[in-house]
């Protein structure tokens, strides 16, 4: 009975916490425990929800007991609950990291505002993951858009405000594009609920094919812009590099994945795999994905600032997810969805360790990383583990995504994709390995001035260690995630309302 309301509990908890955060003074002792405590309780609730779904199967949750056709509905399957849990845990770690780190970006009086925005962001992300209603998706998407702009521009800096403004403008274009697409779908199907829409879509497809096609193109372009596929990624480098580190981590690691997941939901649950294959939209997705994979890495090689480099690397990695979606077989979806979670862990680790380096030494340029391995061994160690994962070394979770993508590509008989994946692995090595090598194996002339080692605060060290360990654990035992995905696959391949 109680377990049924779990999605709502999580959301309400986050919402209330977000709204009441400004009421507590940042210097009071209750501030940090309240933040961390909220997210921890939310994570525990998410864990409970996951266990419930794993044992009992997916469930629908209708808000206010209104019928699904009229009201808002959440649909929680195994992968959704796992994703919710992952988002909450990673956000928890990022917020723990930010407790110390944010203080050198914004003044202390503003930190409540920052955490309000962060909590609202997590709230909207969870809403977007769980929702089964198209317009509800749009509502949460707007909240996510505005709060992500907020967490970038909270630092009162010219670059930040410019970047945030650009993100806002492009984000609005993307959102409106998606809204137009949703409206056109509503126009012909008469439903906003994803399940109801998917029931009527096949008959609608016979009657109004053009309408659906136009709406799809609007939705896909909008989602592509928000998920940062090349060449629609233009807002990402400025936004992610100028933002304070915790914001970059959460934006690059999680937010863009939410849009990719929404694309999966819309394509596979609303439109349905038959129509997709009929119009071969998945092929176009794979072309964009491949371009994104290669060009993201090419641009990353040319970067000198570490955060911009990581931002372009995200463009490349989102390409992997889109490639998995585009392949549109079971193995492809497994690969794409596994990579969503794997990359969230890896990218957060990378951004957090880069942030720790900037916090401690102020170094942002890639060619100044010499000898940092001696100053900050833990930080650079976590960075190296995540970097090895991005390159694709077995033992870290990045390798498994490439393996599954490779198998999926062979399944549909297009081995050319694998060549691109491996080229991108090599390009990743070209820009990640020099950083790792120079950090550990080059002498820097700063070493004489160093007294103590690794003096970043504990709240910054702990998330790095946990995330690095999580990368290795999910790399050695990918079945933890893959089994969940495989249980949830039927709801994507044939959505029965």
């Amino acid at each position: 009975m109680i377990s049924n309301h779990l999605p709502v509990y999580i959301l309400i908890l986050l919402l209330i916490s977000a709204v009441t955060t400004p009421a507590i003074k940042p210097s009071s002792k209750k501030f940090r425990p309240k933040l961390v405590g909220t997210l921890t309780i939310a994570s525990l609730l998410a864990l409970t929800m996951f266990i419930v779904v794993w044992t009992n199967g997916p469930f629908y949750y209708n808000f206010g007991n209104w019928d699904s056709v009229i009201g808002i509905e959440f649909f929680v399957d195994e992968y959704t609950s796992l994703f919710v849990l992952a988002v909450l845990l990673i956000s928890l770690l990022i917020i723990i990291f930010s407790l110390e780190d944010i203080l050198h970006d914004i003044p202390k009086e503003k930190t409540p505002h920052y955490y309000t925005l962060m909590l609202l962001m997590v709230f909207s992300m969870l809403g977007m993951i769980m929702t089964n209603d198209l317009f509800n998706l749009y509502v949460f998407m707007e909240i996510l858009s505005l709060t992500s702009c907020g967490v970038i521009s909270i630092k009162r800096n010219k670059a930040n405000i410019m970047a945030s403004f650009k993100y806002l403008m492009l984000g609005t274009i993307g959102s409106v594009s998606i809204l137009l697409g949703i409206a056109m779908l509503y126009m012909v199907t008469g439903h906003l609920n994803m399940g109801a829409t998917s029931q009527t879509i096949s008959s609608v497809w016979q009657m109004y094919p053009r309408n659906i096609l136009i709406s799809l193109s609007f939705i896909l372009t909008g989602l592509g812009l928000k998920a940062a596929i090349f060449p629609l990624h233009v807002w990402l480098p400025d936004a992610h590099s100028a933002a304070p580190t915790p914001s970059s981590a959460i934006l690059s690691g999680i937010v863009i994945k939410i849009y990719a997941f929404s694309m999966i939901k819309i394509l596979f649950r609303v439109i349905g795999i038959d129509i997709i294959k009929a119009i071969s939209i998945n092929e176009y997705l794979t072309y964009f994905a491949v371009i994104s994979i290669v060009m993201g890495s090419v641009f990353a090689i040319g970067q000198k600032d570490i955060k911009r480099l990581l931002a372009y690397s995200s463009v490349s990695q989102i390409g992997y997810v889109f490639l998995g979606i585009g392949i549109a077989t079971e193995m492809g979806l497994v690969a794409g969805m596994y990579h969503i979670i794997a990359h969230a862990m890896m990218k957060s680790t990378l951004f957090l360790s880069a942030g720790a380096v900037i916090y401690r030494t102020g170094i942002r340029k890639v060619n100044e990383f010499d000898g940092l391995g001696y100053e900050l061994p833990l930080t650079l160690g976590a960075f190296s583990i995540a970097a090895l994962g991005m390159i694709g070394i077995p033992g870290v979770n990045g390798f498994m995504s490439k393996w599954y993508l490779g198998l999926a590509a062979f399944e549909i008989g297009k081995p050319i994709f694998i060549i691109f994946i491996l080229i991108s692995s090599f390009l990743n090595a070209v820009y990640f390995l020099p950083i790792v090598i120079s950090a550990f194996l080059k002498e820097s002339n700063r070493r004489e001035q160093i007294m103590i080692r690794d003096d970043i605060p504990f709240t910054m060290k702990a998330p790095l260690v946990v995330l690095g360990a999580a990368c290795i654990v999910t790399g050695l035992f990918p079945n933890i995630i893959v089994n969940v995905i495989q249980r949830a696959l039927p709801t994507f391949m044939t959505f029965v309302f």
Partner: protein
């Protein structure tokens, strides 16, 4: 602060020395004696015929036989053997912060315990292979399968690591960052053992990558400019090799559905032309690791620049892993099931045959170019590095013969395996000798050395033993493996295509060249006049000599009792594969090594080698210079890498801002494009 730590370390060391003088030396001598006892014990036990079942002690309920049966049925041994060095490494690094003597003792002991555990696998391996799986790891599960091939190579690695660890204590006195060196050396050991004991390609790939990355740290150890460049070359080419193998693995899994080392020739035959791409990928991937031409360029840079213990390991075992990978594929993936074929000419051997031709010629080219370049070198370690390339050429040729001759490939198989083992021993001994010379004189250029036999007599003798081994002098181990390989290539043109007669000719010429350049090495370094500045260098160091002596003993022992390895390990291993049993019986069992034709053949090779050496020094043939464009490294690889980086940079500079400034235009363009494609459909 660092000076304080150093002082504390020295104090601790002195404290230990007071309590227990010379703990390291005593420990090493003890280890060596126990090692000798184990080897003798295994030798006697297997000759009398105790191997194969539990130790046949009279009372089956006695404590010893209970231990015996526990050991011979303990299945998780491979996992423990791999975990021991990988976990021991960090432990050694931590202890190394306190005391270097304790750390070195721990290194030797850990390596020795690992070696004992490897030996303990013997009963199970002899019974038909030791299989162990860890399901769920990495999605597919880790599979270990130790058959005789893996086993003998694991023993070789164990012996090598043991002696290198004893050697490294004295050698690393002169180097910095010692803890890091020993840490990554141990992890590399774990990686090597994992690769050797892997039961399917996936597990092998995991440990292969671990091995590549951990050995990188050993190569770049000195952190000098040269080391960093060599390290960059090593790791980037290593990553490309790994990706190549990954692609091959994906293809194999997609087409056949399995990655295990089982005979798959029938499935491969059904694939059609993609199988040649797959084979090519594997050859490139493993060939990069092995140092096959033209993918060898990292080797002459990496092996000289690493500290000597690391060079000995790199040349001794790590390049063999590449050859082992190729050999494994040849005898499993490309080999048909025994029940499916009707003999030598069965068409299922076709893939193997085509593969074999390619590999034989790759091996011949490798050995020729390696020997030719070795003749030109004036630096000790570079000469040894090129010699490694040449000898790997022999091994690769052997793999090729095995593949080419298919059903009758047992001779090639035996030669390859034997030469892998032999080369591990004599090449690491040679590197150790070079290391001793460098340690005492700090000079690597051969022409600036000379007459060192007066100062380092034992080292000179051991060097002579190793050289006797590598050139193939009868009564030393090289003779055995070279004869086997020679028989193999002769069979290739007897049973196959006549063009391999030229291959055999090149084989003999390269052997002549080998004699010449090793004469050059020995004479320049040890004979002749002792230069003034070296008149006061130190003499022999005990532990280094112990390590080198151990290897030399093995070289002599294998040379005198060649049938031990043949009968106990190589022939049973060949019998387990799809080779013609009659062929094995006729040609391999009780093979006569010391026949007149073999020894006289060797005699003429020695004569010509000496003549070549005299001619070379007389006519200055050994200092040829080359055109820069013939250097593959500068001509092909560096430009490719620089090209990738500079194209990316130029692209970024030109287009990044333009793209960012035209964001909305791009959005509308993409929207139009997508709509166009979709609507065009209807």
């Amino acid at each position: 602060m660092k000076k304080k730590m150093k002082k504390a370390k020295q104090k601790f060391d002195q404290l230990i020395l007071k309590i227990f003088p010379d703990i390291f030396c005593v420990n090493c001598v003890l280890v060596f004696v126990i090692y000798l006892m184990i080897i003798l014990l295994v030798g006697i036990a297997t000759t009398i015929g105790l191997g194969g079942g539990p130790l046949s002690l009279s009372n089956p309920d006695s404590f010893l036989s209970k231990i015996g049966s526990f050991i011979s049925s303990f299945e998780a041994l491979p996992l423990i053997i791999i975990l021991l060095p990988i976990l021991g490494g960090p432990l050694e690094a931590i202890i190394g912060k306190k005391s270097s003597i304790l750390r070195d003792t721990l290194v030797v002991n850990t390596t020795f315990i690992t070696f004992i555990l490897i030996v303990l696998m013997y009963p199970q391996v002899m019974r038909g292979g030791l299989s162990f799986s860890l399901p769920g790891v990495l999605g597919f599960g880790l599979n270990f399968n130790v058959d005789i091939l893996s086993y003998i190579l694991a023993i070789t690695s164990g012996i090598l690591w043991l002696f290198v660890s004893i050697y490294a204590h004295d050698y690393m006195d002169h180097e910095k960052h010692q803890n890091r060196f020993f840490l990554w050396k141990s992890i590399t050991f774990g990686g090597v053992l994992g690769t050797l004991m892997a039961g399917d390609l996936f597990t092998m790939f995991l440990f292969f990558e671990i091995m590549t990355f951990s050995s990188y740290v050993l190569v770049a150890h000195n952190q000098s400019n040269e080391s960093m460049l060599a390290g960059n070359s090593y790791i980037f080419i290593g990553v490309v090799g790994g990706l190549s193998i990954l692609l091959g693995m994906l293809m194999l899994y997609a087409y056949t559905g399995t990655l295990e080392f089982v005979p798959l020739a029938s499935q491969l035959a059904a694939i059609g032309w993609p199988k040649y791409i797959m084979v090519g990928l594997f050859v490139i991937g493993f060939g990069i690791k092995a140092g096959m031409l033209p993918l060898h360029i990292w080797l002459p840079k990496a092996h000289p620049v690493a500290p000597t213990p690391a060079s000995a390991l790199l040349s001794g075992i790590l390049i063999k892993i590449g050859a082992y990978g190729l050999l494994r594929l040849t005898i499993s993936v490309f080999m048909p099931n025994p029940q499916e074929i009707t003999g030598f000419l069965d068409p299922l051997w076709d893939v193997s045959r085509n593969l074999g031709v390619m590999i034989i010629w790759a091996g011949i080219i490798t050995m020729a170019v390696g020997a030719f370049l070795a003749l030109q070198q004036c630096e000790m370690k570079k000469l040894l590095a090129y010699s490694s390339i040449s000898q790997i050429g022999y091994i690769i040729m052997g793999v090729g013969v095995t593949a080419y001759l298919g059903y009758m490939g047992a001779m090639g198989y035996a030669g390859t395996l034997y030469h892998i083992i032999n080369h591990a021993f004599f090449k690491s001994l040679l590197f150790m000798v070079a290391g001793v010379v460098f340690y005492q004189t700090n000079e690597l250029n051969m022409f600036k050395l000379g007459g060192l036999w007066k100062k380092l007599p034992l080292t000179a003798l051991l060097c002579l033993i190793a050289i006797m081994g590598i050139i193939g002098m009868p009564l030393f181990n090289g003779f055995i493996s070279k004869s086997l390989l020679h028989h193999g290539i002769v069979e290739a043109y007897e049973y196959g295509h006549a063009s391999f007669k030229y291959a055999e000719l090149i084989f003999r010429i390269v052997s002549i060249g080998t004699v010449a350049y090793y004469m050059k090495f020995f004479i320049s370094v040890f004979l002749g006049e002792l230069p003034e500045k070296f008149k006061n260098i130190g003499g022999e160091k005990g532990m280094m000599d112990l390590a080198m002596g151990g290897l030399a003993l093995l070289i002599i022992a294998i040379g005198h009792v060649p049938h031990f390895l043949m009968d106990r390990f190589i022939i049973p291993s060949a019998r387990a594969l799809t080779y013609d049993p009659a062929f094995i019986k006729k040609y391999l069992v009780d093979i006569e090594f010391f026949t007149y034709s073999e020894i006289s053949g060797m005699f003429w090779i020695f004569v010509f080698g000496i003549l070549l050496y005299i001619a070379g020094t007389r006519f200055k043939l050994f200092q040829l210079t080359f055109y820069e464009c013939l250097d593959i490294d500068k001509g092909l690889y560096k430009p490719m890498y620089n090209g990738v980086v500079s194209i990316s940079r130029k692209f970024t500079e030109k287009f990044e801002d333009k793209i960012i400034n035209n964001d909305v235009v791009i959005y509308s363009a993409i929207l139009m494009v997508i709509m166009f494609f979709l609507l065009w459909f209807t």
